[in-house]
């Protein structure tokens, strides 16, 4: 049986849609259910719901064979997985934002859910910063003077606007990626291939 790790939310909904469109159905699945594991009707696959940041961990350690995750999460995780395709949904940008531009007369403080990506970005640009790791509501950090700026994902920009925050730099763009465990991809190729095709084929749907 092939295990597919999904992060609850829009990426999971889209991923599931593609599986169902290709005939891999999950009758037991109910969006409101608190169950975390659902088997496909043909018992050839199962989906497991995990936190977005944990998808690469489950896949790289082989607990899940396949996963759908944002590129932003992949960049942060440093997990060893095969990144097979850009699924062309869940588009967003990873940006440096704040109430005003970062100070230049002292070391800026950056709050982020993405400390590794932030560190790599600022190091590459020769900017010495202190990074504070936050788990959520990152927009609060500049408003409450916890940080001078934040590194976070921006989709529509509405949350930033409502909190009077501005985008100063786009570090990278992100979208949903199909990932597989390298070992599973080799030794379960025949079982994984139809699932990969199902998720990929949705690109044109």
């Amino acid at each position: 049986m092939i295990t597919i790790a999904l992060a609850k939310g829009r990426l999971a909904t889209k991923g599931l849609e593609r599986l169902i469109q290709s005939g891999i159905t999950f009758s037991e699945y109910n969006e409101k259910s608190r169950k975390l594991i659902f088997e496909s009707d043909d018992k050839q696959a199962r989906i497991v719901f995990v936190k977005a940041m944990d998808v690469p961990t489950y896949v790289s350690l082989g607990i899940a064979d396949v996963g759908i995750v944002g590129k932003d999460v992949l960049l942060e995780s440093d997990s060893v997985v095969n990144e097979l395709s850009d699924l062309q949904f869940g588009a967003c940008r990873l940006c440096v934002c704040g109430l005003k531009p970062l100070p230049t007369d002292r070391k800026p403080i950056i709050a982020s859910k993405y400390p590794r990506v932030s560190e790599r970005y600022f190091n590459a640009h020769g900017i010495d910063v202190d990074i504070i790791k936050l788990e959520g509501s990152v927009e609060l950090a500049p408003l409450l003077q916890l940080a001078d700026g934040i590194v976070d994902i921006v989709e529509s920009g509405l949350t930033l606007k409502e909190n009077n925050l501005n985008v100063y730099t786009t570090i990278t763009t992100s979208s949903a990626r199909l990932i597989v465990n390298p070992r599973s991809y080799k030794i379960k190729l025949k079982a994984i291939q139809p699932i990969i095709e199902a998720i990929n084929q949705g690109e044109s749907v």
Partner: protein, 378 residues
């Protein structure tokens, strides 16, 4: 038994069953290697950092280094192959030498909160100057896995020079080859497409096809021979196909795959690679390959092939039946201590695991055979 306190971080109770399985695995595999004429040796636990330099940059970063009292940089054994290759390069004649060994490998490890890892491996190395020992070494890898009695093992054969040769044949600039190779290994199609954007469309198509050149032997061989006609590359395909046939002939049940997208996991690998996987493990059970070792000082080079099998991992997945050891508890009083100790040795001589305990320390345990030597008996 008396309630035990939890152990300090880094310590664990392995259990007699696992030790017994590991011992059985090491003993049976070494016995097998010995029957092929391999000298059983023990590589050093501490090695000069200079000796390990040929392992490659990534491997070097994961070595645990320290400075000895004489000021030399040393490492905890990170790659016994390097120790052996260095030793062999100092020999005046590089004739055939076959080694079998058990060694502990230490590495820095950054996954989650774990900082270091060490594992025991049992393996072989063959140094030679004529012919090649691919079949023999792969045969021994197969036998070691059979002796480990692990279900659903898949053996993968690869060739690290295949993909670089293909890219050279396609006249991909060498700077780009360096960028493309890791992306092929990672199967990172989105980034690969961006990286090779300036290459001719036909070349891009072949590279994309080549990304799928892995899987069951017949499927891969058919796919490559129908999609490519470069003789030097087809010769590599045929080499691995013949090796697969040889292993199939030894064990028709063996599950084999070929992977022509394989890259060097260690910088010194130069040709055939062999890896064994289990669906129950994220780590390979066994890995190895053919390599060229070049001694920097003497500029002497030699060819070798070998593999290492992860003992703890294989023991965990193995269905080898460990020797059944009975627990015997002798309960006694301080006055009867010597009598109890003598009795304990009698039972140990019969292969039992014997605890001698004094009366007020004891809690009963269903698994134990209990003997009471008390005042009445004395």
């Amino acid at each position: 038994m008396t309630q035990r306190q939890p152990l300090a971080q880094g310590m664990s109770i392995k259990g007699k069953e696992i030790y017994s399985k590991e011992d059985a695995l090491i003993y049976t595999t070494l016995k097998c290697f010995d029957s092929y004429g391999y000298d059983v040796i023990e590589p050093p636990s501490i090695e000069y950092y200079d000796v390990m330099k040929s392992s490659g940059k990534e491997a070097q970063q994961n070595m645990i280094k320290f400075i000895d009292p004489l000021g030399d940089i040393m490492v905890l054994q990170a790659d016994p192959t390097m120790s052996l290759a260095h030793y062999m390069s100092k020999q005046s004649e590089t004739s055939l030498r076959k080694f079998a060994m058990v060694s502990s490998v230490h590495r820095a490890y950054t996954l989650q909160s774990k900082r270091h890892e060490h594992f025991k491996q049992v393996g072989i190395e063959v140094f030679y100057d004529q012919g090649n020992y691919d079949e023999e070494v792969c045969e021994l890898a197969l036998k070691a896995l059979e002796l480990a009695q692990i279900k659903d093992v898949v053996i993968e054969l690869g060739h690290v020079m295949f993909m670089p040769s293909l890219l050279q044949t396609l006249r991909v600039p060498s700077v780009l080859i360096e960028q493309i190779l890791p992306l092929i290994q990672a199967k990172d199609m989105p980034l690969l497409e961006k990286t090779m954007f300036d290459l001719p469309l036909q070349v891009q198509t072949i590279i994309k096809q080549a990304m799928t050149w892995f899987g069951p032997v017949e499927d891969v061989v058919d796919k490559i021979t129908s999609e490519m006609n470069e003789p030097s590359l087809l010769a590599i395909v045929e080499e691995l196909n013949q090796l697969s046939n040889y292993l199939k002939q030894l064990n028709p049940e063996v599950s084999l795959i070929l992977d022509f997208t394989t890259q060097k996991s260690l910088s010194y690998y130069q040709g055939l690679t062999i890896t064994a996987y289990s669906p129950q493990s994220a780590q390979p059970l066994l890995s190895g390959g053919r390599y060229e070792y070049k001694e920097e000082e003497s500029n002497q080079s030699m060819t070798a092939i070998g593999f290492g099998l992860n003992v703890a991992l294989c023991a965990k997945l193995s269905s080898i039946q460990p020797t059944k050891i009975s627990n015997v508890v002798i309960i006694t009083t301080p006055e009867n201590k010597l009598k109890a100790l003598n009795k304990a040795n009698e039972y140990r001589a019969l292969g039992n695991r014997v605890h001698v305990m004094f009366e007020d320390e004891i809690e009963s345990n269903d698994d134990d055979h209990m003997i009471v030597i008390d005042k009445e008996q004395a």
